[in-house]
């Protein structure tokens, strides 16, 4: 029983790491209807920039500020050179464009900052904590806390600030928002920048765990099923989806894996997402679109 509980809790905590990546997708999807495949590359870029700066002796605070400045610049560039020319194109075209973007961002990141694996020490000791028989990772607890804080902060941003309300307006009805004089391009820039910052936070946590290196960009593959389950448009959904994926993946590897020879995590989350889709085609928190003909 304690084994089961430990697996479950460990999985839930690991799931918040997925949630953090997924939140970046949700922000962008909500505001610009783009499924941003390049989020993983941006995460890599952000973490790599931060580490490169601190390696150069820049203090952590300054490195974060500089990285954020760079991410904002990147968001503006992407909006101007990619999103604006592609306005009113189908979601699939936009998705494929972000695939291309991910190549470019990866090339820039590795080309300018090198491909060596960098260590990133956030000062969190990852020693086990025991609650009775149940072992909990200290690092995962911190990560879960960060994910939760991030979720709450973004929800506040969406609900309490003027920009957030405009942003929701854009998400709900682009045309109406335009007619109200909301500068949609600026909203896009802001959202992409915020998503970049979310990527930085996620990148730092993932980077602390596995080193800052190319494979950080692969975490998008974990975020996808999370999004499917939680819905593309809800931050709460992203968090819940992450928890579900983390927990079920962990339980499945422990209890189903041995019967199938193990190593089932890469596809298990996708199979789970498929099952969810059959039950709720728009995800847990997603809204079903009404077809208009």
């Amino acid at each position: 029983m304690s084994m089961f509980l430990e697996t479950l809790i460990g999985g839930l905590l690991a799931g918040t790491m997925y949630s953090m990546v997924a939140i970046g997708f949700v922000l962008i999807y909500k505001a610009s209807g783009v499924f941003n495949y390049a989020q993983g590359s941006i995460l890599l870029f952000a973490a790599l920039t931060f580490v490169s700066l601190t390696d150069q002796g820049v203090p952590a605070f300054g490195a974060i500020a500089l990285t954020i400045a760079l991410l904002v610049l990147m968001a503006i560039t992407i909006e101007r050179l990619l999103l604006r020319p592609l306005t009113n194109r189908s979601p699939m075209t936009l998705f494929m464009a972000t695939l291309g973007l991910s190549y470019l961002v990866e090339a820039v990141a590795q080309g300018t900052m090198g491909s060596q694996v960098r260590a990133l020490d956030l000062g969190i000791d990852d020693l086990p904590i025991f609650l009775g028989d149940i072992m909990i990772s200290q690092f995962d607890l911190v990560a879960a806390g960060v994910a939760l804080t991030l979720g709450i902060a973004l929800s506040l941003l969406f609900n309490r600030t003027r920009i957030g309300i405009q942003l929701r307006g854009v998400a709900d009805d682009t045309r109406a928002a335009l007619s109200l004089g909301i500068d949609i391009n600026r909203i896009w820039q802001i959202v992409w920048a915020v998503a970049g910052i979310v990527g930085l936070v996620a990148g730092l946590l993932w980077g602390a765990r596995q080193g800052v290196q190319f494979s950080l960009s692969l975490v998008v593959l974990k975020a996808l099923p999370v999004l499917i389950i939680g819905g593309f448009t809800s931050i709460a959904g992203a968090i819940l989806g992450g928890l579900i994926v983390g927990a079920s993946e962990s339980l499945a590897e422990t209890y189903i894996g041995p019967f199938l020879g193990g190593g089932i995590t890469p596809w298990f989350a996708y199979a789970l997402a498929l099952v969810f889709l059959f039950i709720r085609p728009a995800g847990l928190f997603g809204e079903r679109q009404i077809e208009r003909v």
Binding site: M3, G114, S215, E253
Partner: protein, 442 residues
Amino acid sequence: MKRLLLAALLAGTVFSATSAALAADVSQYIPLPTYRVGAYASSGELWWAGERDYFRYINEVEGGVEGVKLNYEEFETEWSPDRTVEVYERVKAGKDGSPLAFFFTHGTPATYALLEKAAADKIPLIDPAGGKTETVDGTVFPYAFPLLFSYYSQASTGINYIASKVGGFDKLKGLKIATVYHDSAYGRASQPAIDLLAKKYGFENIQIPVADPGNEQSPQWRQVREQKPDWVFLRTWGVSTVVAIKTAQRFGFPADHIIGDVWAGSESDVIPAGKAAIGYSALAPYPGGTDFDIHKRLKAEILDKGKSDLRDQKLFGAVNYNVGLVNAALAVEALRTGYKHFGARPLNGEEGRWAFEHLTIDDARLKQIGFEGLLQPIKITPFDHEGGGAARIQSWDGQKWVLKTDWIKADHELLNPLIKDGAAAYAKEHGITPRTPEAETN
């Protein structure tokens, strides 16, 4: 304009294929399939730096190998076996009048992919500490050279080291040894050998797979915690090694009871793991460090003269850099053997095979070329394409790799029948009649 651009691109391609043979120098052509882009670039970058620095040293300081200059050229593959096959096709006919004496695959999957092509084309595939283990048997696989340290040897050396730590082979009985492995052909390659060793010594053999890319391993290490093995043999690759070491710490498994294999034992694997990696050991057919004679020579002749390919000189002597040095040295020594026999001119594939099959680097020679302690003594024969089968053990102290042992030999008597059987089965399946090198002239 657009059309023009496309036309130019297309035309460019045509030229690239045909523009050849300007200088009819007698340099030996050595193509290098590399990966400077993508997920494996962190190891690749250093590897090519080591290889290029050594080749440059040979060309510029020693005037080539027996007077023959080396003409090396890179091709990006992103570690994709498919792209390596393409490179192979591109270069197999040689270049600038030089035939191809051998082909570095720089990766086990690429070796697998090329095994049959290269045998048909009679071009030796060189993949030190990698490749397909059965190809150690040169009578069935004349053109495959898994030099130095096959995957079976890796398993055996690992167990030998554990035995020495626990106080002898008889103490292995009843121990639990878990192998946490990258779930791929590479990760599984040592399984038959470990099965055999478990039977022989009576330890319990636990196998735990990690799916690629392996950036979340809690379930695997929870299983480790549950089963409480005495030792863990870590056969991961890339990011899965870092995550394994960190997750082991989280689950309270001591790093000094984890032995990594060759490809889980570089700086890229331990630096990102931080303090969790202190005490972690790895098999080192390619030890890290700069305390070897060759490093002094390279420092003086290449690095200090600004000719090194190394972007960050702090990484001079990193494990992957030394991998490159050793690989390059093996190639150079084999070519030297060939030139002495065939004359100082570029060799073709068949001559390249002869050269590798007669490659001997003894202690005296190691001293001469400055590789003492970095490379084990090597003796390749047509029957044994491994020629070494030993590794040192190095341990990470938080700053650098520290060599803990001298060369530990694998148990070849035990492993050879396994290899022979595997090779014989392959021969039967593919209708190959094993050659009888004793009867071969020259």
